[in-house]
C-alpha cells in the first residue's frame, strides 16, 4: 500500500475515534440518567409484572383521578397565563417607574418559595379564617372562599404560575426593535393596534412554550394538591401514588398509577417538545420600550397601575402572612428544638448534593451539545442531548421516586442512603433549569470563540477555566441558587420516603400542618422560607463571584 495513503487512513481513523471520544461528558451524563431512570422503571415494571391493564379501562377511581388531573391543570394554565398576559403587558408598557425592579423581583419569589410554605400563606390570606374573609365579615358579607378543593388548588397554582408566566412572557416585549415602536408612533397606532400588529406577533413565539411549561408544572403538582385537595374528588395522579404507597400501602396500585402518569407526561412532553426547547429562563429586568406611543395615555396608565398593584398584592399578601404568622408564633420554642435543625441539615445536604449533581450533568450535556453543533455540525444530535436534560418533564420525579422506593422496599435502606436517593431524584428535577441556564450561554460563547480557542490550543481544563467559566459563571450561579432553593423546599419525593424518621424540613412542616399545630407550623414555615432565601442569595453570590 502507498505509504502516504496508509498514513492518511490512520489519521482519518484516529480523527473518527477522537470525534467519538470527545463527546465523553455528555455520554457519561446520558449514561447516568439512563441508569437512574432505567433502574427506576425496571423497579416499577418488575412490581407490575403481568398486572391487569384492564383496570385502567374499568376502574372509576382511576378515571376520576386522571380526569381531575387534566382538568385542574388545564384550568390552572388558562387562568395563570390568561392573567399573566395583561400583567406582563402592563409591566412592559410601564417600563420606567420607581420600584419596578423590586416588583419584578417579587414576581420571582414564588419560584424559590417552598410550595408548602406558600400554601400556608395562601390559607392564611384566602382561607375560611383568612385575612380576606375577615375583612369581608367586617364589611358585612358572609361569603367565604372554599380553599379546600378545586378552588384552592387553582388559587395556589395561579399564585405560583402567574408570576412565572409573567417572567417568561416579558422578554417578548424586549425583542421588539425600537424602530417598530417609533414607526407605530408615526403611524398613530392605538393601543389595540399596537397589540395586534406588534405585540401579538412577538408574543406568539413565547406563548406556546409558556403554556406548555405551566401546564406540565400544574399537571405534576404534588404538595399543593396534597394539602389543599379535598379527598377523592380532588386528587391528582401524583397524590394518588403517594396515598397508595403511604396510606393504603398498595404498591400494585401505586405502580399502575406511576405507569399512567409516565404515559401521560411522556405523551404531553413529546408532543409539545418543540415548544419547550426555545423557552428562555429570564430575570426580565431589561428596561426598554421608551418609544412606545401608548405608555403615557391616562387610561392605559390607570389600567396598568391597577393590574400591577393587584398582582403585587395577590403575590405579596401570602408571603407577608407567612412572615407575620411566623413572628407571632412560638419562635423561641421551635427554634431551640434540635429536631428542626436536624431536618434543616438534611434538607440542606439534599439541596447541595442535588444541585451539584444537576450542575455537573448540565455542564456535561451542554459541552457535548456545543461540540456536536459547532465541531461535528449535527444539530439534530444536539437537540437530542439537550432534550435528555429535560427528561424529568416527561418522566416526573414522583414516578422515578416510586420506582426507587419500590427497590428500597425490597432491599432495605439506611438513612444516609435514603437522603442520597432523594438528592439524586431532586437532581433530575433541577437539571432542566440548570441546563436551560448554562447551555445557551456555553454554546454562544463557543460560537464566538471556538476557532480562536482551537488555534491557541486552549483545550480541556484551561479552556474551561479561562474562557468558558467566565462566560457561564453568572447563569450557573443563578441556576445553582434556584436549583438549591427548589430542592431545599421540595416535599414530593421526600414525603414518599418519609418512613425512616429522617424527615426533611418541608416534610416536618407538613406533619405539623396535618396535626393542626398551626402555631409551630407558622414558625417552621418562616424558618423554611428564610433558609431558602439565604441559600438562594448566598449561592448566587458565592458561585457568581467565584473567579477563575
Amino acid at each position: 500500500m502507498d505509504k502516504s495513503l496508509a498514513v492518511r487512513i490512520v489519521t482519518l481513523s484516529r480523527m473518527r475515534a477522537y470525534r467519538v471520544i470527545s463527546l465523553w461528558p455528555g455520554t457519561l451524563a446520558v449514561a447516568f440518567l439512563s441508569t437512574l431512570i432505567g433502574g427506576s422503571l425496571v423497579g416499577i415494571m418488575a412490581r407490575f409484572g403481568t398486572g391487569d391493564l384492564t383496570a385502567i379501562v374499568t376502574d372509576a377511581y382511576l378515571h376520576s383521578v386522571i380526569g381531575f388531573t387534566l382538568w385542574q391543570a388545564t384550568l390552572s394554565t388558562l387562568i395563570s397565563v390568561g392573567l399573566a398576559l395583561p400583567i406582563a403587558r402592563a409591566y412592559a408598557r410601564q417600563s420606567h417607574f420607581v420600584g419596578r425592579r423590586a416588583l419584578i423581583t417579587l414576581m420571582g419569589l414564588p419560584m424559590v418559595m417552598p410550595v408548602i410554605v406558600a400554601v400556608l400563606g395562601i390559607v392564611a390570606v384566602y382561607g375560611h379564617n383568612g385575612v380576606i374573609t375577615q375583612l369581608m365579615r367586617t364589611a358585612g358579607f358572609t361569603w367565604s372562599f372554599g380553599i379546600y378543593g378545586l378552588g384552592g388548588i387553582l388559587l395556589a397554582h395561579v399564585f405560583f404560575n402567574l408570576p412565572l408566566a409573567v417572567r417568561l412572557l416579558l422578554p417578548a416585549w424586549e425583542q421588539v426593535p425600537g424602530e417598530s415602536w417609533r414607526l407605530a408612533s408615526t403611524l398613530g397606532m392605538s393601543s389595540t393596534q399596537l397589540f395586534r400588529f406588534i405585540e401579538w406577533p412577538a408574543l406568539s413565539a413565547f406563548l406556546p412554550g409558556t403554556l406548555v411549561i405551566v401546564f406540565l408544572l400544574c399537571f405534576t403538582s404534588f404538595a399543593v394538591v396534597l394539602t389543599l385537595g379535598g379527598g377523592p374528588g380532588a386528587t391528582t395522579v401524583e397524590v394518588a401514588i403517594y396515598q397508595a404507597l403511604r396510606f393504603d400501602f398498595d404498591p400494585g396500585r401505586a405502580t399502575l398509577l406511576a405507569l399512567i402518569q409516565l404515559a401521560l407526561c411522556a405523551t404531553i412532553a413529546l408532543t409539545m417538545s418543540r415548544w419547550l426547547r426555545s423557552q428562555p429562563l429570564t430575570q426580565g429586568l431589561q428596561e426598554g420600550l421608551r418609544n412606545r406611543p401608548d405608555r403615557k395615555a391616562p387610561l392605559n396608565r390607570a389600567v396598568d397601575v391597577l393590574l400591577i398593584t393587584v398582582s403585587a398584592l395577590f403575590i405579596g399578601l401570602p408571603i407577608a402572612a407567612v412572615v407575620v404568622a411566623g413572628l407571632e408564633g412560638p419562635l423561641l420554642r421551635v427554634i431551640l428544638d434540635s429536631a428542626l435543625w436536624s431536618a434543616t441539615a438534611r434538607s440542606l445536604g439534599i439541596a447541595l448534593i442535588a444541585t451539584l449533581i444537576a450542575s455537573i450533568l448540565a455542564l456535561g450535556l451542554a459541552m457535548t451539545a456545543r461540540r456536536l453543533v459547532l465541531v461535528q455540525r449535527r444539530p439534530g444530535a444536539t437537540d437530542l442531548v439537550l432534550l435528555a436534560g429535560s427528561v424529568s418533564l416527561a418522566i416526573p420525579p414522583m414516578v422515578i421516586g416510586t420506582g426507587i422506593f419500590l427497590w428500597a422496599l425490597m432491599t432495605g435502606t439506611t438513612e444516609v442512603f435514603t437522603l442520597l436517593l432523594i438528592a439524586l431524584i431532586n437532581a433530575l428535577m433541577v437539571l432542566p433549569y440548570a441546563l436551560r441556564s448554562i447551555a445557551p450561554v456555553l454554546i454562544d460563547s463557543g460560537r464566538r470563540h471556538h476557532k480562536l480557542c482551537e488555534q491557541l490550543g486552549l483545550q480541556g481544563w484551561q479552556r474551561f477555566r479561562r474562557i468558558d467559566w467566565p462566560a457561564i459563571r453568572k447563569p450557573t450561579a443563578f441556576a445553582v441558587a434556584l436549583g438549591s432553593a427548589l430542592s431545599f423546599g421540595d416535599m414530593g419525593v421526600a414525603a414518599l420516603f418519609d418512613t425512616s424518621g429522617a424527615i426533611t424540613l418541608p416534610v416536618m412542616l407538613y406533619h405539623r400542618m396535618s396535626a393542626y399545630r398551626f402555631d409551630e407550623a407558622a414558625v417552621t414555615a418562616l424558618v423554611l422560607v428564610v433558609m431558602s432565601l439565604i441559600l438562594f442569595w448566598a449561592l448566587d453570590r458565592i458561585v457568581g463571584r467565584w473567579l477563575s
Partner: protein, 238 residues
C-alpha cells in the same frame, strides 16, 4: 521554492464544493478576492485546520500539516470579529499567544512587550476590549499573532469593520510586521484595490475555484476572465 502549497485540495459542504491548488512564496502577501460564497474563508479555514479537506494536501515548508490540530500548525489567523476575549485585558489576550494557560515566563513577558511596542499598544494594555477602539482591538489581535511566532499569517477580513483611514493604517502595520518578522501573509478582502497596496499577488476565487491569479497591479488592471471583470465592477476603486 513555495512556502505554502495547496495541492488539489477538495472540500464539499452539501451541494457546494471547493477545489483549489495554490502556491505562495516565503514572505509573500497574497490577497484572496471574490464574491461572497466563493470559498475564500473556507480556504483559510482548511489551511488553519478548522475544516478537514476531503482530499489533497497542505504543505508548509515541505511538511504536510493536514493531520495537525489548529494549535499545532505553523499558522495563525485573525477573524473579522471576536478575536479577543471580552473578560480579559488586552495584555492577557495577547499573552494567550505565548501560553494558553497564561503561565508566563520572563521571556514571554519580553515577547509580549515587544509585540505591544510593535503595535503601539503599550499604554492601554491593561484595558479590556470594550474600553478601547475597534482599531486598537484589531492591533491587539495582531500583537497576539506576533507572540504566537507562526510564520504564516491568515487574515479573514479583520479590518472590514474599520473606517478607511484606520484600515489603511492597519494594512501598513501588517506590511511592516510582515517585513520585520518575515511573515507570509494571506489576506481575504472585499476591497481589492485597497489591499493591493500590501499584496504582491491577487488570487481570484469564483464558485469554489481559483480561476485567476497574478501580480496584484496587473491582475486588477487587466482582468482576464469575465467573472473577475464583473466582480471588480462592483468594488470600490481604492
Amino acid at each position: 521554492m513555495a512556502f505554502l502549497i495547496l495541492d488539489r485540495l477538495t472540500f464539499a459542504m452539501g451541494d457546494w464544493g471547493l477545489c483549489a491548488s495554490l502556491q505562495v512564496r516565503r514572505g509573500e502577501c497574497a490577497a484572496l478576492i471574490g464574491a461572497s460564497g466563493a470559498g475564500k474563508s473556507t480556504l483559510l479555514s482548511l489551511i488553519a485546520g478548522f475544516e478537514t479537506p476531503d482530499s489533497g494536501a497542505i504543505l508548509v515548508d515541505n511538511q504536510d500539516i493536514g493531520s495537525l490540530a489548529p494549535a499545532q500548525r505553523p499558522v495563525t489567523m485573525m477573524f473579522q470579529e471576536h478575536n479577543l476575549f471580552a473578560h480579559l485585558s488586552l495584555y492577557d489576550n495577547i499573552a494567550l499567544g505565548c501560553h494558553p494557560g497564561l503561565n508566563l515566563t520572563p521571556a514571554d513577558h519580553g515577547t509580549i512587550n515587544q509585540a505591544l511596542e510593535a503595535t503601539q499598544l503599550g499604554d492601554i494594555s491593561r484595558r479590556r476590549p470594550a474600553e478601547v477602539s475597534g482599531g486598537e482591538r484589531q492591533r491587539a489581535a495582531l500583537a497576539r499573532c506576533l507572540c504566537q511566532k507562526r510564520p504564516l499569517l491568515l487574515l479573514d477580513e479583520p479590518f472590514a469593520n474599520l473606517d478607511p483611514r484606520l484600515r489603511q493604517q492597519m494594512h501598513a502595520l501588517v506590511d511592516k510586521l510582515r517585513q520585520t518578522h518575515g511573515l507570509t501573509v494571506i489576506v481575504v478582502s472585499h476591497l481589492p484595490h485597497e489591499t493591493a497596496r500590501i499584496a504582491d499577488r491577487m488570487v481570484f476565487m469564483h464558485e469554489g475555484q481559483i480561476t485567476e491569479q497574478g501580480s496584484a497591479s496587473i491582475t486588477l488592471a487587466n482582468p482576464q476572465s469575465q467573472e473577475l471583470r464583473d466582480y471588480l465592477q462592483f468594488t470600490p476603486s481604492g
